[in-house]
């Protein structure tokens, strides 16, 4: 805790906002002498961006608060949205010019799963940042099935195998084991499913006729907006959920649930949110798109600078009611590199939120392909697709060309350094096996990857009615 932060802890949230505003004012004044005298020729200058109240919207808040948008000549309004559906519709119908999106959203919209619209992303927002939380009741039932370390704390990562007897017991009592996730094409849905399936719990299939995603399910997943997760868990409607921060730590603080695993432990440095705009917008306003990307890259860099030195300040920003609005200590819990599982069981996860390191902001095709494989695995993509199709879709949605052009400008302006960007990559990350179940993922071979996964559709399998059939 910096002394500055302690001072804020002592004051009330609003006066904190005042103190913060003056602080930001001071730093923004320092930044108002932009390094460049040359603005891009912007087609649109007044923009409204949507976001959901989650810590990973941070690049947007930072770009606004530190005046990075203004430096590019953009006048941005940030608007919190009720849920992912409203946010996506807002971008599609033009009420919003862009938004903080789930990585699956632009992909699903482009291939026409749900609302159809061609959405692209020139900028990946972050890595990791999610967790899976279960209610106290479920945790107490699970705990005996989890091996302990010498000091009596549970051994991590916790496998979903510990859930099997719990689900069995629920079934005997005639209670469906309901879990919450934030959106059908969300990272959280795929992560929760990955974790469950890796432990032998069937999370259910989707089919073209039945989009509930509960065909053959052991655990029944349904949609709950992130900020309502703790309240829904408390009300007993769901027994666990997968969600981004601060809503896992919130459950710990309120004493209503226990996070069992973070997505960092599930898949090290997995891609999370993206910044989405319509393809039409990018086509009609190429310079505006570049300017937005530039501002966001600078914000991401600031968030990870000097070993997360600015995180405290970022937490103060995010705790303002117009952004995330949760208590500072709740947001700080994960943003500053630690994560609390059971009350008092705080563990170091320095990379829980990554905004810039490891080329986090570069829109890798392999990230897009992984999401597509999961859509296929659970039946959202009903038919088998050739490897080439995965590549095509990834290329039409993820736009590293825009990203690199913006990065090049920033390098020329002396605001970022050359080595922070993967200039020569072909868009595919190296194959990785850093998953909880150790299965290797190579983005260039989606079909081979699908075959290696336990539980899930592979080859030419399809879901018809309640059965999986092969053609």
């Amino acid at each position: 805790m910096s002394p500055l932060n302690l001072a804020w802890q002592a004051t009330r949230s609003t006066s904190r906002a005042v103190a913060f505003a003056s602080l930001i004012g001071a730093s923004a004044i320092a930044l108002t002498a932009p390094a460049q005298a040359e603005f891009l020729d912007l087609e649109i200058e007044d923009l409204t961006f949507g976001f959901i109240k989650l810590t990973d919207m941070a690049p947007l808040a930072v770009a606004y608060e530190l005046g990075y948008f203004e430096d590019e000549g953009l006048f941005v309004t940030l608007e919190a949205q009720a849920n992912w559906k409203v946010l996506l519709d807002g971008v599609i119908d033009g009420r919003l010019q862009g938004a903080h999106m789930l990585a699956g959203q632009p992909l699903a919209a482009t291939i026409g799963y749900g609302t159809e619209a061609h959405i692209i992303t020139p900028f990946s927002m972050d890595l990791n940042g999610n967790g899976i939380t279960v209610s106290n009741e479920v945790w107490d039932l699970m705990r005996p099935h989890i091996p302990s370390m010498d000091d009596g704390r549970p051994q991590h990562p916790i496998s979903a195998e510990a859930l099997l007897p719990v689900i069995e017991q629920f079934r005997d009592e005639g209670r469906p084991f309901n879990m919450g996730m934030v959106f059908p094409v969300s990272t959280h849905n795929y992560e929760l499913r990955y974790w469950l399936a890796a432990g032998g719990v069937h999370p259910g299939y989707y089919s073209p006729e039945d989009v509930t995603g509960q065909i053959q399910a052991d655990a029944f997943l349904s949609v709950t907006p992130p900020p309502q997760m703790p309240a829904t868990l408390e009300a007993g409607t769901i027994y666990g959920y997968a969600v981004g921060e601060p809503w896992n730590q919130q459950a710990v603080f309120r004493g209503i649930g226990v996070p069992v695993i973070t997505d960092y432990q599930l898949w090290k440095n997995n891609p999370e949110k993206v910044f989405g705009i319509t393809a039409e917008f990018a086509e009609e306003n190429p310079n505006t798109t570049l300017a937005i990307t530039k501002a966001l890259i600078r914000a991401a860099q600031w968030l990870d600078e000097n070993d997360n030195a600015n995180r405290e300040e970022a937490v103060a920003m995010l705790s303002m009611p117009q952004y995330v609005g949760a208590d500072e200590e709740v947001i700080a819990a994960s943003m500053t590199g630690t994560f609390e599982f059971e009350k008092g069981d705080v563990r170091e996860i320095p990379d829980f939120n990554v905004f810039f390191r490891y080329y986090a902001t570069y829109p890798y095709y392999s990230d897009a392909v992984w999401y597509l494989t999961q859509m296929r695995r659970w039946g959202q993509i009903a038919e088998q697709m050739p490897d080439s199709w995965y590549d095509e879709v990834a290329r039409s949605v993820y736009r590293p060309d825009i990203y690199l052009e913006a990065a090049r400008m920033l390098v020329d302006e002396g605001l970022v350094s050359e080595e922070d960007f993967p200039w020569d990559t072909d868009g595919y990350r190296e194959p990785t096996d850093e998953f909880i179940d150790g299965i290797t993922y190579d983005g260039r071979q989606p079909n081979a990857y699908l075959e290696a996964l336990p539980i899930g559709l592979r080859d030419d399998e399809r879901v018809v009615g309640a059965d999986v059939v092969t053609n």
């Binding site: 505003a21 108002t32 005046g67 203004e70 919190a80 900020p227 309240a231 009611p321």
Partner: protein, 363 residues
């Protein structure tokens, strides 16, 4: 032993004083009517005491009009302060009056902070523009409005503006329809089933439909009426036109038959009948309908804003609920009290209008 003339003079004096006093009381009583409308009825006994009426009787009046309500409020606050801390939620205990007051002050402070941020934004803009002019790039000079978070006062203003638009729209639709259905049995028969079906529909059921329709049809957005506001306002209209419609129809159909017959004898044209006979007689009931409508509209609006995330007090409540910070509950209670007080004031405004336009404001 006084002389008769002296006695006369004394009684004359007394009579004059008495007359003056009477005049004063008459003035106070007359003013009392207006004060009642403003909810300041408790001033009347005080004025009467000042004017020299017997304090004993007036004190009893004052007790009824001022002290009893204050005791009620005091008891409520005391009960709240003692009971609230005993309810533990996951966001901490329910805040008592003191925390809520703090939070209200805090909201005002954040409004001031927001003003400061806006000032800083304009300063930066000035500086940037000055630089650009110095660099000979006048084409890049921009004068923009600050795009910060809506303050609490902005939200209140937005909600009031929305409810005004929705309510006026409802009135424009409901009053003519009500008059028509009150005058003609045919019209009444035709729209009665529709009224019966649509009246009980919840605003939240209308909302998705209204949202879709407005999004599709309202293309050329004008500045004071953004899409979100129109959606909320139309939802308010759909829910708040029924009381006006029903009461207008009732008021019009119960106009004194003799009056209508006089109108027929004089062979008044329909328009004259409506303006000279029907409206004046039906006004009290129409206003009753309008008051009910405004109350319903205000209630509906908050719900609509909460659900659709349209700017306004409803969104403020929902956002705070979603924030889930330790001060959220207190802020929500501030909003609840604000909503209640504004609802009360709106009703008073309608009551005042009713008193101004009609001769009977007994409700």
């Amino acid at each position: 032993m006084t002389t008769a003339s002296e006695f006369d003079a004394a009684t004359d004096d007394a009579a004059v004083r008495e007359a003056k006093k009477e005049a004063r009381f008459a003035a106070i009583t007359k003013a009392g009517g207006y004060l009642n409308i403003l909810g300041l009825g408790w001033l009347v006994p005080i004025l009467k005491i000042a004017a020299g009426d017997s304090p004993k009787y007036q004190m009893r009046e004052l007790w009824q009009l001022l002290v009893v309500p204050l005791i009620g409020i005091g008891l409520f606050l005391a009960a709240w302060a003692t009971l609230a801390p005993q309810v533990q939620t996951s966001l901490g205990a329910i805040p008592g009056p003191a925390q809520v007051w703090d939070e209200a002050v805090g909201l005002h402070e954040s409004y001031l902070a927001q003003k400061e941020r806006a000032a800083a934004f304009y300063e930066r803009q000035e500086a940037r523009n000055a630089e650009l002019i110095a660099a000979g790039r006048e084409d890049r000079v921009r004068e923009r409005q600050y795009t910060g978070q809506a303050t609490y006062y902005d939200q209140i203003f937005t909600s009031l503006w929305t409810v005004t638009v929705g309510f006026l729209l409802a009135t424009v639709i409901a009053v003519p329809l009500g008059i028509a259905s009150g005058l003609s049995r045919t019209v009444n028969g035709a729209i009665n089933p529709l009224i019966q079906i649509f009246k009980p529909v919840s605003p939240l059921a209308w909302l998705p439909i209204v949202t879709m329709v407005v999004s599709a049809t309202y293309i050329n957005v004008v500045e004071p009426l953004p899409k979100s506001l129109v959606i909320s306002a139309i939802t308010v209209t759909l829910c708040s036109l029924w009381p006006t419609l029903i009461n207008t129809a009732l008021g019009v159909s119960s106009v004194d038959k003799d009056l209508m017959n006089v109108g027929r004898v004089l062979q008044l044209p329909t328009w004259k009948t409506v303006t000279k006979l029907v409206l004046p007689s039906a006004l009290p009931l129409i206003f009753t309908g309008l008051r009910l409508s405004l109350g319903v509209g205000w209630m509906v609006l908050i719900a609509a804003e909460m659900l659709s995330q349209n700017p306004g007090l409803g969104k403020f409540v929902w956002d705070e609920f979603q924030n889930g910070s330790s001060s959220s509950l207190a802020k929500i209670i501030v909003a609840v009290l604000t909503i209640g007080i504004i609802g009360f004031l709106l009703d008073r405004v309608m009551y005042a209008l009713q008193a101004a336009f009609t001769f009977s404001s007994q409700r």
